[in-house]
């Protein structure tokens, strides 16, 4: 067993883990953070995307011991706590935009999509449609066909920049 300590969504956690434990299983089974999904489990689909020290990673392809000492952000830490009981008021602009633009059907890929998109927007606050598509090439959706996902990311980007742009895509 190996000791790990990491900061997950703002809280410090310490545990003894098997070296072969994957980060996604640590998050889900040790910490109960089941918001992060396991999809393909082969580094393809991106459903398990979280941020490790500020960068998007596929947590099914990172050992928990490799993340020791790191800062992890998952989908569960994205929304701000809303004291008046209005949960939606605390949503991150990406969460809101995936809702309003219908960026999901079954929702399984959504936690990974949003975490990958958040990293993309931190590098490029005003991506073109093409840049969003390339930026999210590590995330697979088997329902929507991506049009509304791209729209949602650009809508969120506009909100985060504080302006309004035409986000129509794929004419």
């Amino acid at each position: 067993m190996t000791s790990v300590q990491m900061n997950v969504d703002g809280e410090t956690h310490s545990d003894e883990v098997e070296p072969r434990l994957l980060l996604v299983h640590y998050l889900r089974e040790f910490l109960g953070k089941t918001g992060t999904n396991v999809g393909c489990d082969t580094s393809n689909c991106g459903a398990c995307t979280v941020h490790l020290d500020g960068r998007s990673v596929k947590s099914c392809t990172v050992l928990a011991v490799q993340a020791d000492g790191g800062d992890i952000d998952t989908i569960e830490g994205l929304a701000e706590f809303s004291s008046n009981g209005d949960e939606e008021a605390g949503w991150h602009p990406l969460q809101r935009a995936f809702h309003t633009e219908h960026g999901l059907q079954c929702g399984y890929c959504t936690p990974g999509m949003i975490m990958a998109a958040k990293d993309l927007l931190s590098e490029n606050p005003d991506p073109t449609e093409d840049e969003v598509r390339h930026g999210l090439e590590g995330n697979l959706c088997r329902c929507t066909g991506y049009v509304n996902i791209v729209k949602a990311v650009r809508t969120a980007a506009a909100e985060m920049r504080g302006d309004k742009v035409d986000t129509e895509v794929g004419a």
């Binding site: 070296p19 072969r20 991106g46 960068r55 998007s56 990673v57 050992l63 011991v65 999210l136 590590g138």
Partner: protein
């Protein structure tokens, strides 16, 4: 999918990693970014008994200029850090451009240049690039350091000339000035997949002619290859000779047949992609 059990050693330095490799021999594997090794371990295609993690060896990260004018890239430098590095962009933009086509964003955040080269997969992008750039790797073992030219590095399917007790510490590449153009054509079925075939063309232009051309081929054999017949046909030739020269791209290759493509289709792709890459590189 869960890897088989292994003992985990976190190396604090290259020397510690070499000592652990020496102690455990071929039961041990080095862990860099893990984006080739961990998927193999999850599929139980690899089951090392000891994993030696280089993640804390900070001396293996970063880029600097060598006295001989080449760039030295630390083996544990993540793909994204190669792409973003000012020295790489300024002096070896071709490496940044090829690295940008490796995997997807998440893979580029974790995968490393040294790990990709040590894995030695002829279907991945960086081995063919290092070959075309005439790059080298520096490895450190129990008896010191040695430098291995890319042409001597890749010896067979997923096999390199790096010994079991050696660690890649640096990747060295020459500078390519403004007289060089380049283009990497990667043909794959879906966006993030490995190349079914890839062709990296570099062209040094001089008075409207090709002074020197280089072509690196991805996935045209068990090891990455140079299309030497194309390079020879183009040396000193006019730029409009590219299409004819590219017809030689599959000569000397041994392209595999698999679910994605027959050997013959790969040969066709090599010719087409090489023509496109060299045409764009000369443009």
């Amino acid at each position: 999918m869960i890897p088989a059990t292994f003992d985990y050693i976190r190396a604090g330095s290259v020397e510690e990693a070499v000592a652990a490799l020496t102690e455990h021999g071929d039961e041990a594997k080095l862990l860099a970014g893990g984006h080739s090794l961990l998927p193999l371990m999850k599929l139980r295609l690899a089951s090392p008994e000891v994993l030696i993690d280089l993640g804390r060896v900070d001396a293996l990260r970063g880029v600097c200029e060598l006295d001989d004018g080449r760039l030295s890239i630390g083996a544990m430098t993540a793909h994204q850090d190669v792409i973003d590095n000012d020295l790489v962009r300024q002096h070896c933009g071709v490496l940044a451009d090829v690295t940008r086509q490796v995997g997807d964003a998440q893979v580029r955040h974790r995968g490393t240049i040294g790990g990709a080269l040590a894995h030695g997969d002829a279907a991945s992008d960086l081995p063919a690039a290092l070959l075309a750039l005439d790059g080298t790797v520096v490895v450190q073992g129990p008896s010191g350091q040695r430098e291995i030219a890319a042409a001597d590095l890749f010896v067979d399917y997923l096999a390199t000339s790096i010994s079991d007790d050696e660690v890649i510490t640096e990747v060295r590449v020459p500078k390519f000035d403004g007289s060089w153009g380049w283009n990497y054509q990667k043909f794959s079925r879906v966006a993030q997949a490995w190349a079914i075939v890839g062709s990296l063309g570099l062209v040094k232009r001089s008075n409207g002619n090709v002074e020197e051309a280089r072509v690196g081929l991805t996935h045209m054999g068990t090891v990455p290859l140079r299309a030497t017949a194309v390079e020879q046909a183009l040396a000193g030739a006019a730029i409009d000779g590219i299409a004819d020269a590219a017809e030689h791209a599959a000569e000397g290759t041994s392209a595999p047949t698999d679910l994605n493509a027959t050997s013959e289709f790969r040969e066709h792709l090599a010719r087409v992609l090489t023509k496109r890459a060299l045409t764009a590189a000369a443009g």
